[in-house]
């Protein structure tokens, strides 16, 4: 029907027809797949949700005399330094940890500088967001003294403009579907989905459903390695399959998975990102994370693309998982549709349970809308993936240390 090259020609001429995936879904109901596929060139999807498997690569530039950093803290949050001399990797879910990093007075000074109240928890996600917002971040590093790198330590302040490279490399983003968390136990639980109240007091889901990028390309037919995307308000790319990529998850006849499935590793220049789409966050008694706005354009190469994008919240499901059982495989209360979840209420074992999202559907829509505008204005062209993402990865567990009993 069309090729990516043809679409890009239209984008550059500002003639491309771009719809958000919600506009497409509405129009398919009105006009049908065939007609819509002829009209539209690109469909934009979006999400805004916590993605804790995110991180930033930083290269500081060398001081004089130079240093080979072995331990390092950015605003008190440890960054991994086991690379070349001044390369660092700061993970979003790393908590502030001052042990070994200096005096208590420094901690207080630091907190004052950040004007956060002391009980507020800080982590890698906040530091990444602060750097993207252009704020100064305090750096303290301990080096290994060698003939090449004589310096033993350094304390300084960095901003995104005073360091060489600053890019996000996120090992696991854009979960294709996720779970719904509930608590069937008798005490409150504090989870990566936020607080779950006992006796099925509430339920939390974290995927935006029909807006979500990978639920609109369930078999990863048009998204692949090298796909250009909207990442945190800047331009990013699909780098690789994500960790725990599990395309073999059970699927409905519409090909969408019934639980967590494909994931993507993403990369993008953080210096071009916008703090509006990159927010540090913290889950009480669980830890810090990073909320990210990510948008993926889907080229309408054929009718199948439109057919897959037409999927509605009624056609998408997620499993309701009981976090009260502290095991890897937790019991679940069956599947619920995203239409039910977004109604704010589900029924579990005959009991009405309030449901809250954790993905911001409001901001996810704005991501899709912003990406649409970029493409319409000719600022963002599409890329042909250089390789497909694997479709046959199994999901292994670390069981070898225990008794090998097969319960199935």
């Amino acid at each position: 029907m069309r090729t990516i090259d043809e679409i890009n020609e239209k984008i550059q001429a500002k003639r491309a027809v771009v719809w958000t995936v919600e506009e497409l879904k509405a129009n398919v109901v009105e006009m049908g797949v065939k007609k819509v596929a002829q009209m539209v060139d690109v469909v934009t999807t979006g999400t805004f949700e916590p993605m804790e498997s995110s991180g930033a690569i930083l290269n500081l530039g060398q001081p004089d005399p130079p240093i080979k950093i072995r331990q390092c803290w950015l605003d008190g949050v440890a960054a991994y330094a086991g690379f070349g001399a001044v390369d660092l990797y700061l993970g979003a879910s790393q908590s502030a940890d001052y042990s070994g990093s200096g005096e208590v007075s420094d901690l207080e000074e630091l907190r004052e500088m950040r004007s956060r109240s002391p009980q507020q928890e800080l982590g890698g996600g906040h530091v990444i967001a602060d750097l993207i917002a252009g704020k100064p971040v305090k750096l303290r590093a301990i080096g290994q003294v060698t003939d090449c790198y004589p310096r033993a330590s350094i304390e300084t302040t960095i901003t995104r403009d005073t360091i060489n490279q600053f890019y996000l490399y996120n090992p696991r983003n854009l979960y294709q579907n996720f779970i719904v968390g509930v608590n069937g136990g008798d005490r409150p639980l504090f989870t990566y989905l936020g607080p779950l109240q006992p006796q099925l007091g509430n339920a939390v889901f974290s995927n935006p459903g029909a807006l979500s990028p990978l639920l609109n390309d369930p078999d990863l037919q048009v998204v692949g390695i090298g796909s250009r995307i909207f990442l945190g308000g800047g331009i990013g790319y699909v780098a690789w399959e994500g960790t725990q990529h599990f395309p073999l998850q059970k699927r409905l006849p519409n090909r969408t998975p019934i639980g967590p499935a494909a994931t993507l590793a993403l990369i993008g220049d953080a210096k071009q990102m916008d703090a509006r789409w990159v927010r540090g966050c913290y889950f009480k008694s669980y830890g810090p994370s990073l909320m990210l706005g990510i948008g993926v354009p889907l080229p309408v190469l054929n009718e199948t693309v439109v057919e897959r994008c037409a999927v509605r919240d009624e056609d998408l499901v997620a499993p309701v998982v009981d976090f009260a059982i502290p095991r890897r495989v937790r019991p679940n209360f069956g599947l619920v549709s995203y239409a039910q979840l977004k109604s704010g209420q589900i029924t579990i074992d005959g009991k009405r349970v309030r449901v809250a999202p954790l993905a911001s559907i409001f901001l996810a829509r704005q991501v899709a809308e912003t990406l649409k505008q970029w493409i319409e204005q000719g600022e963002f062209t599409l890329t042909q993936p250089v390789a497909s993402l694997p479709s046959d990865r199994p999901f292994l567990a670390q069981d070898r240390w225990g008794a090998q009993i097969n319960l199935e």
């Binding site: 805004f48 936020g194 540090g280 704010g344 829509r365």
Partner: protein
């Protein structure tokens, strides 16, 4: 009319059945929103009083005579609009549905009149956008 006030009781008035007197003598309904009362300690009560305007004024005057401190500025939940990402996580823990999501736009809506200031939303908010004004 309705009026939300914070009542602070001196130790010796803790034994007085205040809500009973308000109902019986002034025909004022006192909906207790928050309470911190213990024997021989200063007590605090956040109540929403509803009744006829004249009787409400008379009731407040009577409370003053009993040396119960009345403060109209009760603690309130404040939402930082710039920090809020409208994720909606707080709506799941809000017992009175004062916090809800607009089902069309999915923006957070705070209905202050329904809020009982239980403060469960404060630690729940992942971006620290919710606080009290005190």
């Amino acid at each position: 009319m309705k009026k939300r006030v914070t009542l602070t009781f001196p130790k010796r008035t803790v034994h007085m059945p205040v809500t009973y007197r308000l109902a019986k003598d002034f025909n004022v309904a006192a909906n207790i929103i928050r309470a911190e009362v213990a024997p021989n300690q200063v007590g605090t009560l956040v109540v929403e009083l509803s009744g006829d305007i004249d009787q409400l004024d008379a009731a407040l005057e009577w409370l003053r005579v009993q040396e119960i401190d009345i403060s109209a500025t009760s603690r309130e939940i404040m939402i930082d609009e710039d920090a809020c990402v409208h994720c909606g996580l707080c709506t799941g823990v809000c017992p009175t549905e004062a916090l809800s999501l607009n089902r069309d736009t999915f923006q957070l809506v705070f209905t202050r009149s329904r809020c009982i200031v239980c403060e469960q939303c404060i630690p729940t908010c992942p971006v620290q956008a919710i606080a009290t004004n005190i």
